[in-house]
Symmetry: C2
Subunit: 320 residues, 2 copies
């Protein structure tokens, strides 16, 4: 049909919106604040008003838009367009799809934000539109998105792809935001890596992390990768532990999905080869040879724009 | 279209074939031997001859068949209908789909035998045609089949769903048939359970398994579950270890797939609730609450017929 596509990525503080040509060229991308008052009821109206205004700015008719694709935080019933639980915003069985579709008279497609970011990366990022893909995002938490047979895997109640909550320490793991403990996220998120660095300092270990901490009064995942690269043994131990645990978990997921690409995104992925090199080594230790042969690791390239690209692609995938 | 369906399940010694009505009612099911001479070249001819003969027996025209669905052992390119590697039979890039389709002038669909058995269970076994399903088969080895969005997940080179080869012991695990060690299969297959029983006896542990071994000169997974049920502590320890490791691995897979059903098949599943009770307990220890809420465990009901049902359903799913 060659119509334009709109992708929307709803976050806790801002909503990103992108207007794209059918092949993925950006016409414009912008942000509006997330209005969390009255349980997020205003959000669909804000989104549509903002899109309408942009269409006026560009002198484009609404009829040139094929549809709107939305990534939203929480557990989503993608078929029904309902946000079952959206913790950050306070949504509960919120019919975002229907509301936005009623306002715009356009078809609306939606899924969980991490899943939508995954198809965005697959479409216009490092993915090359492969049929089977794993995306792992190492940020404040650890997010995951799975594509199998070319489609997002959402699961029976919108909880698929929650790679960050694979248990990696059966006993005595650090507490996780999900209320459990020992989840992958507690070890391999930016927060988890920083925690391990701080623990090493507090245990009085002989490490450059201690000087760094004295200087800045805080430690980040970047400090750990930087100092590991400079030869700091304690930092190297942390990197080895993090990549061992992550490589092991990705190997388990890959044994199920048999992806052709494994894309690592989020702030921690900025470490590039300093992350990927030990990660690949750990993965290869725990995965079947055919799984290893079939897959390659890449760093995500779209950054925070993956969500709006993914929203646009949701529309394209469904109606062309 | 309401046409009849043919399902074929190719095994190392016999090939099972089923002729079904469109809704899954069995017209007939039968077996022919697997001819492994000349690298399995004769197999498609044998299959088609046998189907033709059966159609004559039932006075049915070939045109009443919608298509043929095949489950075959090894790594399959489902799209192209090619068996990339079929270890048992000696196939290598074998165009089974094309050969069978040329012979029959019927559409042929195929996938790995474990995957096809999974959709068979989903169609006419314990599955109720759910969109997201995990099947784990505990037999001589541990097989797996994954359905996401209603479709078999085959992966980038036919290696998806190899749940039996998730690493469960990072170091010092028992050797696995795949050439690695510490795979799930080494702990939770019938063979793995029997091995642990024998190890306990050889270590001189105080267990009824020792008497059983003296009597029969061998031990099976059934012995372990039976004696655990009779209160033998060592057998209970083995059951607890097996279900802990299996529950942990299934929890990891379920965190990725978010299935509505988890079906356990194979010989070991005959232990029924004696297996499922501790398995559920372990699963619930390692899975997110929403994953637990969304899923239920069932024992497979189709046994060795799951493959032919699945073959028939492959046809139905593709052409009605």
């Amino acid at each position: 049909m060659n119509k334009n596509l709109v992708g929307v990525d709803i976050g806790g503080t801002t909503i990103k919106i992108g207007l794209f040509k059918n092949e993925g060229e950006v016409i414009d991308k912008w942000e509006i604040p997330t209005d969390k008052t009255s349980k997020g009821d205003q959000i669909p109206i804000d989104i549509w008003k903002s899109i309408e205004q942009k269409m006026i700015d560009y002198d484009l008719d609404i009829s040139t838009i094929a549809g709107i694709g939305v990534g939203a935080p929480g557990f989503i019933d993608a078929k029904k367009g309902v946000i079952l639980i959206g913790v950050n915003i306070g949504w509960n069985d919120f019919e975002l799809g229907k509301k936005l579709s009623d306002l715009s008279s356009l078809p609306v497609y939606m899924d969980n934000d991490a899943n939508v970011a995954a198809i965005g990366e697959n479409w216009r990022g490092s993915g090359d539109l492969v049929d089977n893909l794993i995306v792992v995002t190492l940020g404040t938490g650890v997010g995951g998105g799975i594509i199998a047979n070319g489609k997002i895997v959402s699961g029976s109640n919108g909880t698929a792809g929650e790679i960050g909550h694979i248990t990696v320490e059966k006993e005595g793991g650090a507490p996780c935001n999900c209320g459990r403990s020992g989840c992958l996220e507690t070890v391999t998120s930016a927060t988890g890596i920083a925690r391990q660095a701080l623990e090493a300092v507090n245990e009085g270990k002989d490490t450059k992390l201690a000087e760094r901490y004295k200087m800045k009064n805080k430690l980040t995942a970047k400090d750990v990768f930087d100092l590991a690269n400079e030869g700091d043994l304690v930092s190297q131990e942390i990197v080895n532990h993090v990549t061992d645990v992550l490589g092991y978990s990705i190997a388990s997921v890959a044994t199920v999905i048999n992806p052709s690409k494994i894309i690592i995104g989020g702030g921690v992925s900025k470490a590039g080869e300093n992350l990927l090199r030990p990660l690949r080594r750990a993965f290869e230790q725990y995965a079947l040879p055919r799984i290893i042969e079939g897959s390659e690791f890449e760093v995500a390239t779209l950054g925070n724009d993956a969500g709006i690209y993914g929203g646009a692609y949701l529309v394209k995938q469904n109606i062309g």
